[in-house]
Each structure stands twice: as C-alpha cells, then as structure tokens.
C-alpha cells in the first residue's frame, strides 16, 4: 500500500499562472487540477485513459491527466479548458465553433474535445479531414453522435487555416 503521507509541493504553470500545491506522489494530475487547484473544468470520465475527457496540454502536448501523476508535472506548463478563452475574455475560436455547430449537449466531454482540437490546430492549422477525425477519435462523446463535433472541428480548422 502506498504511503498516504509524503506530500510534497508541486509547482507548475497553469494557463499562464504559477501555481503551487501539495500532492502525495500517487495523486493523479486530474485530481490535482480539480481538487487541489479548483480547476474543475477538466473532467474525469474513466480514469483509465480511454475517454479523453481529462485531456490537458502539458508543455503543448495533449495528455490524459488521469494517466499522469501530479508530481510528474512539476515545472511543466499546462493549459486547460479554463485557459482557452482569449485575453479579452471572449470565447476562443474552437469554443465558438462548438457553440455555433451545436457540437455539444451535456458538455461533460467537451473540455477534452476542445483541448484535443486546440492541440491539433496549433500544430496543423490546415489539418486534413483525416487528421481531424484521427485527433478526435481519442475522445468519447455519448450525446452528440460526433457529427456536429466534426462540423465544429471543420469550421475551427477553416478559421485556423485562414489565420495561418
């Protein structure tokens, strides 16, 4: 059994802000974000790395925060759904696309999709249809049937390609 003690400080940057909180070595990054830092926009759907609801950007790479220990993220730069809006507070282009295409219903899986798509479009603004589908196939949604999520992704891609 793990030693429940042994908490240490974990220092990282989340959405541009330096954060410090205590974590025992076994604390998942998802639980650290949600329950230690109060960033509950990152959701937990399966805790075994399949559903993708907990996806965050860790040093720019999309990762499942349920498969990472908080202590592994020491010194890292994280982005979560709370960091997707523009500096003016307006919804970002990916967020707007999901709203306009009705690409969400209950909204529980949505943060994971937003992060996965953001990661793709930041790397490949003109992503192909195949790349879009591939990037989003790692996230499960039980409400929408994906059609409108893909429509939102295409709209966000078209905008990103235009900006690029």
């Amino acid at each position: 059994m793990a030693d429940p003690g042994g908490e240490r400080e974990v220092r990282l940057v989340v959405n541009g802000v330096e954060r410090v909180a205590a974590a025992e070595p076994r604390l998942l990054l998802s639980d650290f974000l949600r329950h230690r830092l109060g960033l509950t926009g990152t959701h937990v759907g399966c805790e075994h790395g399949v559903c993708g609801a907990c996806t965050v950007l860790l040093d720019g790479e999309p990762v499942r925060s349920c498969l990472v220990f908080a202590v592994q993220a020491e010194g890292a730069e994280l982005r979560t759904v709370e960091g997707l809006a523009g500096e003016d507070g307006e919804l970002g282009p990916v967020q707007r696309a999901f709203h306009e295409a009705h690409g969400m219903q209950c909204g529980f899986c949505t943060p994971g999709f937003l992060i996965s798509l953001t990661a793709l479009l930041e790397e490949r603004p003109g992503a192909s249809e195949e790349e879009l589908v591939d990037a989003l196939s790692g996230n499960l949604c039980r409400c929408t049937g994906y059609a409108n999520i893909l429509a939102a992704a295409r709209a966000a891609r078209d905008q990103a390609a235009e900006r690029a």
Binding site: H43, V81, Q105, T110, G138, R142, C143, G145
Partner: protein, 778 residues
C-alpha cells in the same frame, strides 16, 4: 417574430465551454468526507463475517458501514412504479409482477458482481480506497445463473432463495384468431432474435453528495439524477424525514440515457452517512463501478412468427419474449410492457399473440436505457419482416409499405391497452409518407458504384412508433422580475438535452419577450414544490406545455394589470420584445418589468386585492401519450475477408410533431442513432458463465468514436399532435430505437447471396466472419 421552429443557439453552452459547468464532483463542500465501496466480487455468494478493524485503524478513516447497520435503519428499497399495474392492463394481459425489494446493503447474500457490500467513509477517496483493500469479508460462493432462459428452466439456481423460481414477471395477450390466421397463411416465418445487453454509459458517471445543516438538521443532496423530486420524496420516506427539510439538486448532469433515473443504493447511503456522521459526504462513481453496478439495458430474446398472404400482407404476429431483469426487478412492467406495446409499431396487423416472461439472474439490474424496451421490440419485428421479404422474394421496403397504417386511419386504435391504462391510440402521423421520403434519399447506387467482390453494400430498414410524453404531471412556474427578466422554474431537469433553451423559447413565445430575457431553472427540488423529471421522452410534451400554460397565464395577468396602468382595455394590449403597448397608441407603452414592479407589496399605488407578484404556476397533466414515429435506413459496407461493417450513410425520416428547436432535435436524433450504431456494431455487456463481468472497462466495453460517424440525412415530417396545446411529441429516445434493426437488415442484404441470417448483434468483425463462414458451409 415567433421563436418556435427556430434553431436558437443554446443558452447553456457558454458556461460549459469555459469549463465553468458544475457537475456533482465539481462541488466543493466544506470538510466533505469521501466514500469508496467494497463491491461484491461474486455473482452469487453468502456473506460471512466482515472484519473492519484494520480499515478503521487506518488514519483518516471515519466509518465503515455495512448491511448489518443499514438493515436496522433502512427498509429494503421498493419503487412505486414497480407496484403500479393499472386495472385495464390487468384485465388485458393478466400480469404477474413480483415486487422485489432491494437492500441498500445486503446482509445475507450478494446476487451480482459489483453489488455494494460495505462503504468506507474517509478524509479522501484515496484513503477510502486504501481502507476498502483492508476490509476482510468472508464470501461463500453459491451457484449463479446468468442467462434469462436458463434462469427460467427447471432446476436453475435461484436468485432469491425464498422465491420458488426466477420468474419476476409474466403477462400475455391475444387479439383475433392467431392460430387460424397462421393456418390460412401462404407464408410463415419464424425465428429467434436477441437484443443483447448494453450499457448506457454516459461520460459522466453517477455521483452523490450530501450535507447536513448543523443548526436545523435539514439535508442537502446533490445527485447526478434525472429525477430530483422523486429522489427527494424517496429519501423522505426511507430516511423518515420531512420532504420540506430535504432539498435535492441535480446540477449539471453529464448525460443519462435512463441510467440516472433510478434511485440507487448509493443515493440512499450517502445521505444516510451524512446524517449519521453529521458531516458532508460525497461519492463519485468510477467507471469500473459504473460498468458493473449501474443499471444496464436490453437483454431480451424473442421467438417471433409472422404469417402473411401471398401478396405480403401480414395476417398475424405471434411473439414469445424472455427478458433478463438482472438481480433485481426494480421497475416492474416498465420495460417489458413497452416492448409489448411497441412490437407492432406502424403496422396494421389483424391477429396478435404476445407473451413475455421476465427472469431475475445474477447480473446487474436491467432498467430503461434510451428506448426502454422499444429497440428490442423493433429488432424482433423488423428482423422478422426482413425474413418475410426474403421468403417472398420481395423488396423489404415494399413489404413494409404494404403493411403500414395509413394516414386516413388516424387516429388509429391498436386494440392494446397502454402501460398507463388508457387505450393505445396513435394520435397522428403519416407512416407511408415517412417511408416514401426516406426511400427517395437512400442513394444506394452511389455506394454500389464503389462496391467490389470483397466489399459489399447493403441497405436495411427499420420503422418504429414511440409513445412519448407520459404523465403523470410536470410543474412549471413562470415569474416576471421587476427587471423584466423572466424566470421559468420547472421540475424537469436536464442532462444535456438543451431544456434551458427549448423551454425558454416556449416561455418567450407565450409572453412576447426575447429568449435572452428568459432564465430556466430545473433540477432543484426547492424551485417548485412538486415535479417528476426528465425521462421517457416526456419533457417537451409535459414540461413544455406546463411552461407554455404558466407563461400564458402570466401574460393574461400582466395585461390585466397593465390595462389599469395604461388606461386601456386588456384586449387592446399586445406584448412584443418585453414591452406592453396599446394598439393604435404608439406613445402608450410599458415594460413588462414595470408591471411586476407595480405589483410589489410596498407600492402604495398597488390596487387592493391585486397579486403581489407577476407569476403563475401550472401543473400539466397529459392524457394518453403522443405518438412519434421514424423510418431509419442504414447503408453499410461489409468487408468479406475481415467481417468489418462500416455504416456509410444513415437516413432518418422522423415525425415528432411540432418542432421547437430544429438544431436541438437533430442533435438528439443523431446522438441517439450513434448510440444505436454502437449497440449494433460493438457494445455488449458480457458475463462469463459464473457471472463474472468481462466488460468492466472502456477497452472491453467499446463505445463508438468520431471515426465511425456515417453521413446523416435527416428528414422531418412534422404532424402536430392533437393531444396537447403545443402540438408537440417527444423525441429524446427515437434515434436509438431503429439502428440495431436497420443495420442488421443492411448486413443481411449485403450478404444476401450467401444466405446469411442475423439473429443478434453486435455485428463486430468476428461475429460477421462467423456468419460468413457458417453460410459458406463452414
């Protein structure tokens, strides 16, 4: 401008897009303790000693609660709905229904893998799980039974030792001379078709949190439930407390599909622990718990026979069905009776014989899952009609067309008693037109052009009817604030269906205000005194009409008061954009909020006897259900060497009455269809012979992904329902009803030259390969 029929963008999106949703696990309750459950590792076992000493010795563990403690305090759980058998149903089908109490925690035996046995309450979930590992429970394994037909066979292990067998429900029905019709028929087909067991699995699992007010002992409960008022009333009875001192809130709920509509042991145990410990207590289900212990769906086998004349007119249908209820018959007739009343669907059939037996088994309880008995019925009858078409050498769509109830036959009496005890009458619809329009856009040729010897194309059909908008009631309260903002309070909660938008549209329409000025509050038992909840495709019909009625009453009230304020007659007034105006007097206007302000108790000018707020409440009690309908057409490709089935195109021609928000309706349909595709191709809950769950995670229970999304073609035919003022029908479940049957038909069609018959899903590569190999003679 009317807002009905307009795809108003959803009001609920912005918070969710910013990560500002509030789901149960997001709530921060000061000093909340967390719970982990020890769950049964056995399908059937006697419980011996439970030694909690080591668990309790772990620092941070506050309590261990097992069945010995709860048995003294909590009656076994029984749901009212399980006891309801309307007199007319009794007369028509002579049902035998065993009421089946479920202990919150068992004391003597466990009867399915995943059943909660003991709960650990600790300072954190991590510690609670550590302590669960330290609990020592003696189990003496007993023989288990998993399959429903085996459970009903003589000598099967008994799930309930005090029952003489495993039969939880039976009922039967016969109309017309079925035997004579079969004897006279030119063509008879008979087959067994199975709707395999599936799991609803919303991406948010269940969750419950409870807090106790240290001053007055009142109880606050947050639950990811579809039915907050029902849960409040249930807790009041089971905990022996005043319902007024219990407040249940369903905050944001991350999908449900039926799985969150039952009251579970955990819904009772978390508040119980909070009361006992005098502290806030919280439990969030993990996915492994969810797949093992939350209710599952489907699991029926039908022996169905269809008799027809040489022209393919169906003369009679006979169906003997067996359903697996799992370890507890929680909800009585709900699912099996739905199957019965939806079996004949849109077809005009003379003689009909039906019998249903429901067995308890050592598996997780089965309860409504999106469609709730209807997909099972549709799989049986539609598969049988495909067999009939094959036997006749006719086009399956032609055979269907030949047997549809025509629009001229509406309203159409089926001769069956619906589950609410009323005569089953299809209120409106045009099924032949739905089929005609769906057939127009199948575009088979486009796909055939790309077919190869290896990659075959097939088309399959499913047509269904769906009773929607069941009562008994829903409550809505509409209030105008002095600011002009409109508050709509309702008992209907939301799990992603967009009610905050749809119900706001209805209120805006009835009042003459902008949708943006309406705020809808649902999912809070304190918002309105009574309510029912969101399930069974009922919210638009029942809550929608309640909102519309209450808003209309507020409008009348506002006009009456405004007439006095403006020196005009109320019939001379109109409301547009939240402003009351006198027709023909452009200068005489008044904001709606000013009327509310005028009525405040402290206004000295307020007329004597006038109401003290601008508000009205309506409790809408619907009559018989409204009937939605749909035609589903699947175009699939089957890859012969690998058995991979790909759904290429999915056509839905749909009639759900008057549509309020087309984008939301389309979203519900597509989402439902995708769940149906998942069930048709991948998803199956599997137990081994001993009742061990083999699909306990998302690697083994496989949900569809974005990569499997077909192209969709949606066609709307909106026949208003004459049964309610709005003319609406329900539609939340319809999308999930047809796909398993349509896809099975399409796969069979693709493999027609091999003579493959699909008796069950899911049609994953190995099952399809088995079918191909078997058809080729092994």
């Amino acid at each position: 401008m009317s807002t009905i029929g307009v795809s108003v963008p959803r009001i609920e999106d912005e918070r969710l897009l910013r990560g500002e949703g509030r789901f149960v696990d997001d709530l921060r309750l000061a000093g909340a303790l967390e719970v982990a459950f020890l769950r049964s590792p056995h399908a059937h076992a006697r419980i011996g000693a439970i030694d909690a000493a080591a668990a309790l010795a772990l620092p941070g563990v506050v309590a261990v609660i097992d069945g010995r403690e709860t048995a003294a305090a909590l009656e076994p759980m029984v749901f009212d709905i399980a006891k309801i058998v309307p007199e007319a149903v009794r007369e028509a089908t002579a049902p035998a229904v065993r009421v089946h109490p479920m202990p919150a925690l068992p004391t003597e035996r466990v009867t399915y893998v995943g059943q909660p046995v003991a709960m650990v309450v600790a300072e954190s979930r991590y510690l609670a799980e550590d302590a669960v590992d330290l609990l020592a429970v003696e189990f003496e394994p007993l023989p288990a039974v998993v399959d429903a037909e085996r459970a009903l066979a003589p000598g099967a292990p008994r799930v309930e030792t005090e029952w003489e067998d495993n039969e939880a429900i039976s009922f039967a029905f016969e109309r017309g001379d079925v035997d004579a019709a079969f004897a006279a028929a030119k063509v008879v087909v008979e087959e067994s078709f199975r709707s395999h067991r599936q799991h609803p699995s919303p991406i948010e699992t269940r969750g419950v949190a409870a807090g106790v007010d240290p001053q007055d002992g009142s109880l606050d409960v947050w639950s990811a439930t579809q039915t907050p008022h029902l849960l409040r009333d249930f807790l009041a009875r089971w905990l022996g407390r005043d319902p007024e001192r219990i407040r249940v809130r369903a905050p944001d709920v991350g999908g449900a599909f039926g799985i969150k509509h039952s009251c579970y042991p955990e819904d009772l145990l978390i508040p119980f622990a909070a009361l006992r410990l005098g502290r806030a207590v919280k439990w969030t289900e993990d996915r492994a718990e969810h797949l093992a212990a939350a209710t599952q769906g489907r699991d029926q086998v039908h022996r169905i026979a269809v008799a027809a004349d040489a022209a393919g007119r169906i003369l009679a249908v006979r169906d003997h069905a067996v359903m697996n209820a799992g370890a507890f018959n929680l909800l009585g007739l709900v699912v099996p009776y739905n199957t019965f009343t939806h079996l004949l669907g849109p077809y005009d059939v003379g003689a009909f014989g039906f019998a249903m037996r429901v067995a308890v088994t050592n598996t997780a309880p089965v309860a409504p899952y999106r469609g709730a008995g209807r997909p099972e019925a549709v799989f049986a009858i539609e598969r049988a009609i495909d067999r009939l078409a094959r036997e006749l050498g006719a086009d399956p769509a032609d055979v269907r067309a030949r047997n549809l109830i025509g629009p001229e036959q509406m309203p159409y009496e089926t001769g069956i008693v619906y589950r609410d005890g009323t005569d089953q009458v299809y209120d409106s619809g045009d099924y032949p037109e739905l089929l005609r329009r769906a057939r127009e856009v199948v575009e088979r040729e486009r796909f055939e052009a790309a077919a190869t010897e290896r990659r075959r194309i097939g088309v399959g059909y499913a047509i269904y009817t769906e009773g929607t908008g069941v009562g008994p009631f829903e409550t809505a309260r509409v209030r105008i604030e002095p600011t002009g903002r409109v508050k709509v309070l309702t008992g209907a909660s939301s799990q992603g269906q967009g009610h905050r938008t749809t119900l706001a549209q209805l209120a805006a329409e009835a009042l003459g205000v902008a949708v943006a000025d309406v705020e809808v509050v649902g999912g809070d038992s304190a918002a309105v005194p009574s309510g029912f909840g969101t399930l069974a495709s009922r919210t638009l019909v029942v809550a929608g009409n309640a909102v519309s009625e209450a808003a209309a009453a507020v409008r009348a009230q506002a006009l009456e008061v405004a007439a006095g304020m403006l020196g005009a007659a109320s019939y001379e007034l109109e409301i547009e954009g939240g402003t009351i105006a006198v027709r023909g007097r452009p200068d005489a206007t008044l904001p709606l909020g000013a009327v509310a302000d005028f009525l405040t108790p402290f206004n000295p000018a307020r007329p004597r006897g006038a109401p003290s707020e601008l508000a009205a409440e309506s409790v809408y009690r619907p009559g018989p259900v409204t009937w939605s309908a749909g035609v589903h057409v699947a175009v699939v490709a089957v890859d012969l060497p690998t058995g991979v089935v790909e759904v290429l195109r999915f056509v839905v021609a749909h009639d759900c009455g008057r549509v309020v928000n087309p984008a939301i309706v389309d979203g519900q349909i597509v989402g439902g269809v995708m769940q149906g595709i998942g069930g048709a191709l991948h998803e199956e809950v599997l137990y081994d012979e001993d009742g061990q769950l083999r699909t306990g995670n998302f690697m083994d229970y496989v949900l569809p992904t974005a990569g499997e999304t077909p192209e969709f073609e949606l066609i709307h035919l909106d026949t208003p329902s004459p049964l309610n003022p709005l003319g609406v029908k329900g539609m939340g479940e319809g999308g999930a009803i047809g796909p398993p049957a349509a896809i099975a038909g399409a796969v069979e069609d693709a493999l027609a030259d091999l003579g493959v018959v699909v008796h069950r899903g899911p049609l994953g590569p190995s099952r399809v390969r088995d079918l191909i190999v078997a058809a080729a003679g092994g």
